[in-house]
């Protein structure tokens, strides 16, 4: 049996190989913080593997060694009793030293991971049941804007996210970049991280937040700094006005069918605050906080019956003719 368990340990022992483990993985560090954490984890893992193996070896040898022949259970050998007392004491002391050593390693790692940079780029993230509001705030209101479920950051620059909740407790977690931090009702938390490499890193709510906790994902896009600058300039602009008749019809229906009561599209009369900002929804990669990959079909399925795809979420099903649905999808897809 120990053999089977050791083979099961292989994925641990070969961490570099596991680096291809996916886009939401603590074993695939793409940020300064996640890298530090993985190093700490690795130190702990080696100590743990050594201790466990030692225990198993002692256990096996202890069971298999030739035994003295005394049958009477109370006929104890005084020499053994004395020696075993010393050995147990020594091992206890060794345990103490190991855990104190690991505590120091842990605290050193903690200081590095939670080190604060005064000049970090600051975002505010507000958790909602079950989506993420992302606010890019700037001293100038003209440079401030709101988006949802997708976060774009420049590589190589420290980013500070201020975490708040609009309802229950959520937890912000992008394992490839750093560890998690809770979004707690009535409390402001913050988390800093730096992406080393450009890429898309998936994140997911990690604190149980109700019915659709499983469908509360998001993505962090780490962009090269100049690419990030271009994106920010574009994202700050209002939604593109449709020019074709179908798009115009969609825009009109968006207001007439109640969508605008909950959703904002900057530059239009749609200014609802309850649901995600949709100003640039056409450029997003997923629908319903990571539930479906973005496509006309996905948008259509979602708008036609949100309760089927993500039961219990706060978006009601709106009665729409199929032509109306097509117009709205067409309009939303233009909002790049």
């Amino acid at each position: 049996m120990p053999v089977r368990m050791r083979t099961a340990l292989v994925p641990f022992a070969t961490l570099p190989l596991a680096a291809c483990a996916g886009r939401q993985s603590a074993l695939d560090p793409q940020g300064l913080q996640s890298n530090h954490i993985l190093q700490t984890l690795f130190i702990f893992l080696i100590v743990a593997a050594v201790v466990w193996t030692a225990v198993v070896v002692v256990l096996c040898v202890g069971l298999l060694r030739r035994k003295r022949s005394a049958v009477q259970p109370l006929a104890l050998h005084q020499g053994f009793e004395r020696t075993s007392g010393h050995v147990v004491f020594g091992l206890g002391l060794a345990t103490l030293i190991i855990v104190l050593g690991l505590s120091i390693v842990s605290y050193a790692g903690q200081r590095t991971v939670f080190a604060k940079n005064e000049h970090a780029l600051t975002l505010k993230i507000i958790g909602h049941q079950w989506w993420w509001e992302v606010r890019y705030e700037d001293d100038s209101p003209h440079q401030s804007f709101v988006t949802a479920n997708e976060i774009r950051i420049p590589t190589g620059q420290p980013v500070k996210v201020e975490l708040e909740s609009a309802d229950v407790i959520h937890s912000f977690w992008v394992p490839s970049l750093t560890g998690k931090m809770d979004l707690i009702t009535g409390q402001k938390n913050e988390l800093q991280f730096t992406a080393k490499n450009a890429g898309v890193y998936r994140g997911q709510c990690a604190e149980f937040c109700g019915l659709q906790h499983a469908h509360m994902a998001f993505a962090v896009f780490a962009l090269l700094p100049d690419e990030y600058g271009r994106w920010r300039d574009h994202e700050n602009q209002s939604g593109t006005s449709p020019t074709d008749p179908l798009g115009k019809q969609g825009e009109q229906l968006f207001r007439a069918r109640g969508c605008a009561l909950c959703h904002t599209i900057r530059g239009t009369l749609a200014g609802g605050q309850l649901g995600p900002d949709l100003t640039h929804i056409g450029s997003r990669t997923t629908v319903a906080a990571g539930t479906l990959p973005m496509s006309s079909a996905a948008l259509g399925a979602w708008i036609a019956d949100p309760q089927h795809i993500k039961p219990g979420n706060n978006m009601p099903r709106m009665p729409l003719q199929s032509g109306e649905l097509i117009a709205i999808i067409h309009y939303l897809e233009q909002l790049k």
Partner: protein, 637 residues
């Protein structure tokens, strides 16, 4: 005074063996028939019911676990809806923690501790009966609610504000919170009984350093229950008040705070883990001594470790809250305190390893489960050291890594010893042996199934799978490991089915056990299997830590107890010198009636605060009936 008493009543020194047995049996026997069964205050009857009920809840909780594993076996499964899944994982956690793990350990203590310390009944036997009824009613209340689709769905931790009225306007969190109250009343009652039984009812000569390790473990556990449970009681009662009468303990917009809930919950919740694990260590020590054929090495070390674990367990609750934005230095200190608990746990493991090293192991099923326990628990302890580190925890907290960790600790640390304990003590309780052949199958299926089910979860957590998600998308790379884990869970479930088959077969046609089939050393093996209602015809006198190995021919006994009424011998706390002969209560229906009145009060009070008003008079009446003076003297020198 004592002269008068001697003239009036017959004592056990004036009867011979058979006469004495018959006489004691008739005094201590539970009345026959259905009403007799409801009145029983015999710790063995209550203990047996407690054990069977707790295992019934294990079965139910296990079925839920299998359902969850079926749901997660493949991505985007529609086997369970989100709502059902959330109810199920909440029910699984709540059932396993509150209706199985804690009660089953107390159940074994209720049955075994009086036998192991050589007395005739547990202290406060009526309270004991009351405790069982409360446990039963609380458990049934939870499960009936679940059957009626009002099962709690906010997690076994019920974090506010999710569990507040605003975000969960149904009755589900109230059901959960009040179930806690039921099980707490039950657990606190048993703890008091155990402490008093161990402190005051030990057989003469059983000084503190001759108490069996299992009894020591239950003593420490009982103190943990008494100090930890009030915290959750405050928490859950405040939650009900917030929900029912609009108080604002946890409402941040009115000066309350959601983290208050987390502190109160985990101040209970972490010791809770040790409330489950420490009895497991007691079982390990008992089994190990018997099957290694020698006393456990380092008796005082083991006891001091138990006590140290108990104290330390109250100083590490914050490690459940490392990602709530606590001050960094404070969090770092809780890392150190959490890891420190590895020292007493390690010392116990080293003592057990030394025992096996020197002993002459007899490989029967109980010992197999203990060996399995060591392999699994040590791994769980080590992953616990990892989780205790703040930076590592920020990654693995609330992921499947933690799910793997605590199942390694709880199943490895408590359930493996427990199943070993079932094989070990079943002959004492039923009078029949369990099949050794099925036992071996049971062990290997459990060991392989457990590891296949739970080991992959470590990796799942590290590659990003959070806990409490009812499904995941196909592109997440989690499907294979989840499928493997689900397969393991089925094998693990099969091992429990085998245990059930083994128990049923043995009850029908198992080999008769005799008094001491394992040649064990503690007092429960000095009486018949199953023990007679009076436990011992004559109270034994203890001269050694392992009385049955020391006095191989015949046990010395005490003489002079009454044979006309139920009487137990009280002894001094440290030296166990005889002090007083105390009357032990007769069977009574009042504990049941009190439990029913309390149940009506508890359940009523989640619907209307007025239940506090109309619910108390029936309880008062029942308690008056319970404590109505019996009209005779309670104790004599």
């Amino acid at each position: 005074m004592s002269m008068v008493a001697e003239q009036r009543e017959l004592r056990d020194d004036s009867l011979n063996g058979l006469q004495l047995s018959t006489r004691m049996d008739s005094i201590w026997r539970t009345p026959s028939g259905f009403s007799g069964a409801l009145m029983s205050v015999d710790h063995k009857v209550v203990g047996r019911r407690y054990i069977v009920t707790a295992f019934a809840f294990l079965l139910l909780g296990g079925i839920l676990a299998v359902l969850m594993r079926v749901q997660l076996a493949k991505p985007e499964s529609t086997f369970l809806s989100a709502d059902k899944y959330n109810q199920i994982f909440t029910m699984h956690g709540s059932t396993m923690m509150f209706l199985f793990a804690v009660p089953v350990m107390e159940a074994f203590a209720v049955y075994l501790v009086p036998l192991m310390v050589g007395t005739r009944n547990i202290a406060f036997p009526r309270l004991n009966a009351f405790s069982y009824w409360m446990f039963l009613f609380g458990g049934c209340f939870l499960w009936l609610s679940f059957a009626l689709n009002v099962g709690p769905d906010v997690g076994w931790f019920a974090y506010v504000p999710l569990s507040s009225l605003q975000y969960t306007p149904t009755k589900r969190p109230d059901v959960w919170a009040q179930m806690i109250t039921f099980t707490e009343v039950a657990a606190l009652a048993v703890s008091v009984e155990i402490v008093v039984t161990v402190f005051k009812q030990r057989a003469p000569g059983m000084t503190l350093d001759r108490i069996p390790l299992f009894v020591w473990a239950m003593l420490v556990t009982s103190f943990l229950v008494m100090f930890a449970m009030p915290s959750i009681m405050v928490a859950s009662t405040s939650l009900i008040l917030d929900r029912l009468v609009n108080t604002r303990f946890y409402d941040s917009s009115s000066g309350g705070h959601p983290l208050l809930w987390q502190h109160l919950f985990w101040f209970f919740g972490h010791p809770e883990v040790y409330i489950i694990f420490i009895p497991g260590t007691g079982m390990v020590s008992a089994i190990l001594a018997t099957f290694a054929r020698r006393p456990v090495v380092g008796y005082p070390v083991v006891i001091l470790s138990l006590i140290a674990t108990g104290f330390l367990s109250f100083g590490l609750w914050v490690h459940h809250m490392f990602v709530t934005g606590l001050p960094q230095l404070g969090a770092g200190l809780f890392t150190a305190s959490s890891m420190l608990i590895a020292v007493p746990s390690g010392l116990q493991i080293f003592c057990w390893l030394a025992t096996l090293w020197d002993g002459r192991p007899v490989y029967r099923t109980p010992l197999l489960f203990v060996i399995g326990f060591i392999l699994i628990f040590v791994m769980g302890g080590l992953s616990g050291v990892m989780v205790a580190s703040v930076p590592i925890d920020t990654q693995v907290h609330d992921t499947y890594f933690v799910v793997a960790h605590f199942h390694y600790v709880l199943i490895g640390g408590a359930v493996f010893p427990l199943i070993g304990a079932v094989y070990y003590w079943f002959p004492k309780i039923s009078g029949r042996m369990l099949s050794e052949r099925l036992g071996r199958w049971n062990f290997w299926l459990a060991f392989v199934g457990f590891n296949v089910a739970f080991f992959p979860m470590h990796i799942l957590g590290l590659i990003g799978m959070p806990r409490r998600v009812y499904t995941y998308t196909a592109d997440m790379d989690w499907a294979h490991l989840n499928l493997l884990s689900s397969g393991g869970a089925l094998i693990f479930a099969l091992s429990f089915a085998l245990l059930l088959v083994n128990v049923i077969q043995s009850l029908r046609s198992g080999t008769l056990a005799g008094d001491n089939p394992w040649d064990a050393s503690t007092l429960e093996w000095a009486t018949s299997s199953p023990p007679p209602p009076q436990n011992f015809d004559r109270i034994p006198v203890v001269k050694h830590r392992d009385p049955l190995w020391f006095d191989t021919e015949s046990m010395p006994v005490v003489a002079g107890l009454s044979v006309e009424r139920r009487e137990v011998l009280l002894t001094s706390l440290a030296e166990a010198e005889p002090q007083v002969r105390e009357a032990s209560p007769e069977p009574s229906i009042w504990p049941l009636l009190t439990a029913i009145a309390t149940t009506v009060f508890f359940i009523g009070s989640i619907f209307t605060p007025w239940a506090v008003l109309w619910g108390t008079p029936p309880m008062a009446v029942a308690l008056i009936g319970w404590f109505w003076p019996a009209g005779h003297k309670e104790d004599e020198e």
